[in-house]
């Protein structure tokens, strides 16, 4: 048998604390990220059983889902349940002694943005969080995925997770991207091709020249949506860009340890003849700026397409498309570029990083958003916000007519007051266009920050290439 290993195999093998005969493993966890929604019962479970957090120094907590993103948030949270959840995290973080970034801390933000930013996420690590978009951290060549509340408790108590190994999938994006095409278009196009269940049972490794060319921000956007393609996790092999991003971050290793880490990280790639259970190849040149038209991330098409008809599909999807077109208020055959919008949301753990804001600002520079349209920019963290202000991006957004918000999940999932009204249509840079995701009856079109900015200017879904 070949001893060649994939990147996933290597990380997996390095973390097996124990293996049962049936292949069930006790996987050692390097970083446990915690937010306020999925952790309270886990902490309570520890208390009831008289247990402690095994490795508080490897546990990082930050409130993000419920926090208000308006400038007056120091006033506190109105919604009782939201407030209770955030207060519970405050208390749990303190009682159990884990690293904590409270709402008042400039480093607070969306957990998947804070982790990498603070140097908690490093190549070769196992990273878990009670949140499905934990896959984001795979951009560093870390094995990262979401877990349930009972597993959160398990990791808190034992720093391990009971796991069985997934299969290996390779998604290769060859060549390079054309102007106006971004990481978001890659990741949405892959899901369009494989479907939302295409990755089920797999860990995906993204590779190819087009991926190598991406910045770390872009790579995080790609891995962030691995879960939307059904995969357990997404991975990208670390390289010079990864190391440069990590170097000097507050919790990255320093001095001798840095050298030692680097040496190890340089071994983290899939061996030449390693076995993949499934391989998908897409040419970078073939990818266009895309938008979603339905209520599943797989409902995606290039912007210059027409809305499909239910009969263009087969099986159960026919009914699903009927339902989603009705929900979305779209008719088959209509040009996507004729779809008018009321709201633009730029933010989330998919596209709330500095590079995303730069890209959107580039389009918006010297322009105004369409009259009557509501535009919202929600930076992914307080530090992203500060940097954007320093670079003058905030002024561009404000002058264009956008609200310039504080960091949090915000309108990505509408758990705080940032919500769509029924029937409102939003160009969003987030990752889920499910029914009601951004508020009851709200209609979501997913796209890149550039495309969202272009839509803000014209008031319609727009091909950003026309504005370049």
């Amino acid at each position: 048998m070949s001893t060649a290993k994939t990147l996933y195999d290597k990380i997996w093998d390095a973390h097996i604390a124990h293996q049962d005969q049936d292949g069930t493993c006790l996987l050692y966890i390097d970083r446990h990220l915690v937010h306020e929604v999925t952790s309270p019962q886990a902490f309570e479970g520890l208390r009831m059983a008289g247990r402690t957090v095994r490795a508080p120094h490897k546990t990082i907590a930050v409130p993000d889902h419920n926090v208000p993103t308006t400038l007056d948030r120091v006033k506190g949270i109105d919604n009782l349940e939201s407030r209770i959840q955030v207060e519970a995290l405050d208390k749990n973080a303190k009682d159990f002694g884990v690293h904590y970034y409270p709402v008042s801390d400039v480093r607070q933000g969306i957990v998947h943005i804070v982790g990498p930013e603070q140097g908690w996420t490093l190549p070769g690590m196992t990273v878990v969080c009670g949140d499905s978009h934990t896959a984001t951290h795979g951009a560093f060549g870390a094995l990262a995925h979401g877990i349930g509340t009972s597993e959160v408790e398990h990791v808190l108590a034992t720093q391990t997770l009971i796991q069985k190994k997934s299969l290996n999938m390779k998604v290769e994006i060859t060549g390079s991207l054309k102007p106006g095409v971004t990481a978001k278009d890659i990741t949405l196009s892959v899901i369009g091709k494989t479907g939302t269940a295409g990755g089920t049972g797999y860990v995906i490794e993204y590779c190819g020249d087009a991926i190598k060319e991406l910045s770390m921000e872009g790579r995080m956007t790609i891995c962030n949506m691995a879960i939307e393609g059904g995969a357990r996790a997404g991975l990208i092999a670390p390289d010079e860009k990864t190391f440069a991003y990590c170097e000097g971050r507050p919790h990255a290793p320093k001095g001798e340890e840095w050298k030692q880490a680097l040496k190890y990280w340089q071994t983290l790639f899939s061996d030449e003849d390693a076995h993949f259970d499934k391989v998908i190849t897409i040419k970078g040149e073939d990818i266009a700026p895309v938008v979603t038209w339905g209520t599943s991330p797989e409902d995606v098409l290039p912007i210059n397409s027409k809305v499909p008809a239910p009969n263009d599909f087969e099986g159960g999807k026919v009914e699903a498309v009927k339902r989603s077109l009705k929900y979305m208020g779209l008719n088959p055959g209509m040009s996507l570029e004729d779809v008018t919008i009321d709201t633009v949301f730029i933010g989330s753990c998919t596209n709330g990083r500095i590079e995303d804001l730069r890209a959107a600002a580039e389009i918006l520079k010297g322009k105004k958003i369409k009259e009557g349209l509501r535009g919202m920019v929600v930076p992914g963290s307080g530090l992203v916000r500060a940097q954007a202000e320093e670079e003058g991006l905030a002024d561009i957004f404000k002058e264009a007519g956008f609200e310039w918000r504080l960091a949090g999940c915000s309108m990505c999932l509408a758990m705080n007051p940032d919500q769509l009204q029924p029937g409102e249509r939003c160009a969003a840079t987030s990752n889920r266009n499910f029914e009601g995701r951004q508020g009851r009856g709200g209609r979501t079109h997913l796209m890149s920050p550039q495309m969202a900015a272009a839509a803000a200017v014209t008031g319609k879904l727009t091909d950003v290439r026309d504005l370049l």
Partner: protein, 201 residues
């Protein structure tokens, strides 16, 4: 998780079939940040009227059953949601054992995760215990998990089946975490080696 070995207690008869998780703990109580405290709302809509007053006819409101530790129930107990709030609510009220003909699968497994013993008996055996439990405080039912025996107040014994591993976990008070904790020395050893190789983690 608490160990379960022997129990002798008052059993509340609930002959209704298909008692679902929404009856056990209605939806509006699921938004809590706690898993304790749910006992106050166990069977809320059957137990209290709109104004929050106890409905005297409901079995757990009767004086004889206020301290019940066992429920004898109709078949397919615990169908519905996969959330663990139903066993949390039962346990918080003080119910440590349920006796029925059958259970919903997820609920059955969730019971073990929380230290509750769900016992499966034959219909005629459940019928007999149902009648027995109608005698309230005067009819204490006994359970011996080690021997896999249920005994009626009159000393009639029935044996029940249970997965060996699940039995082991209950007897020793082991949930998933407890089981992993049994391997703590393996984790310690792994961590020590790992930390030597990768001190930056």
């Amino acid at each position: 998780m608490e160990k379960f070995n022997k129990l002798t207690g008052i059993a509340a008869p609930m002959p209704l079939v298909n008692i679902d998780t929404d009856m056990i703990i209605p939806k509006q109580f699921l938004k809590t940040i706690k898993r304790s405290g749910l006992g106050a709302n166990l069977f809320d809509e059957m137990r209290f009227d709109k104004d929050g007053n106890e409905i005297p006819d409901f079995v757990l409101n009767k004086k004889a059953y206020k301290n019940a530790e066992i429920i004898v129930a109709g078949e397919n107990f615990g169908c519905g949601s996969s959330r663990e709030h139903a066993p949390w609510a039962l346990l918080d009220f003080g119910i440590k054992c349920v006796i029925s003909i059958s259970y919903a699968d997820i609920f059955y497994n969730n019971c073990f995760k929380n230290g509750i013993l769900p016992i499966v008996l034959k219909p005629e055996e459940v019928d007999l215990l149902m009648e027995d439990s109608k005698n309230g405080e005067n009819a204490r039912i006994s359970i011996d998990l080690e021997r896999q025996i249920v005994q009626s107040s009159e000393g009639i014994e029935f044996s029940f089946e249970i997965d060996e591993f699940k039995k082991h976990c209950l007897l020793n008070g082991l949930d998933d975490i407890g089981l992993t904790m049994e391997k703590v020395s393996i984790i310690d050893e792994f961590e020590e080696n790992y930390q030597k190789k990768m001190p930056w983690v």
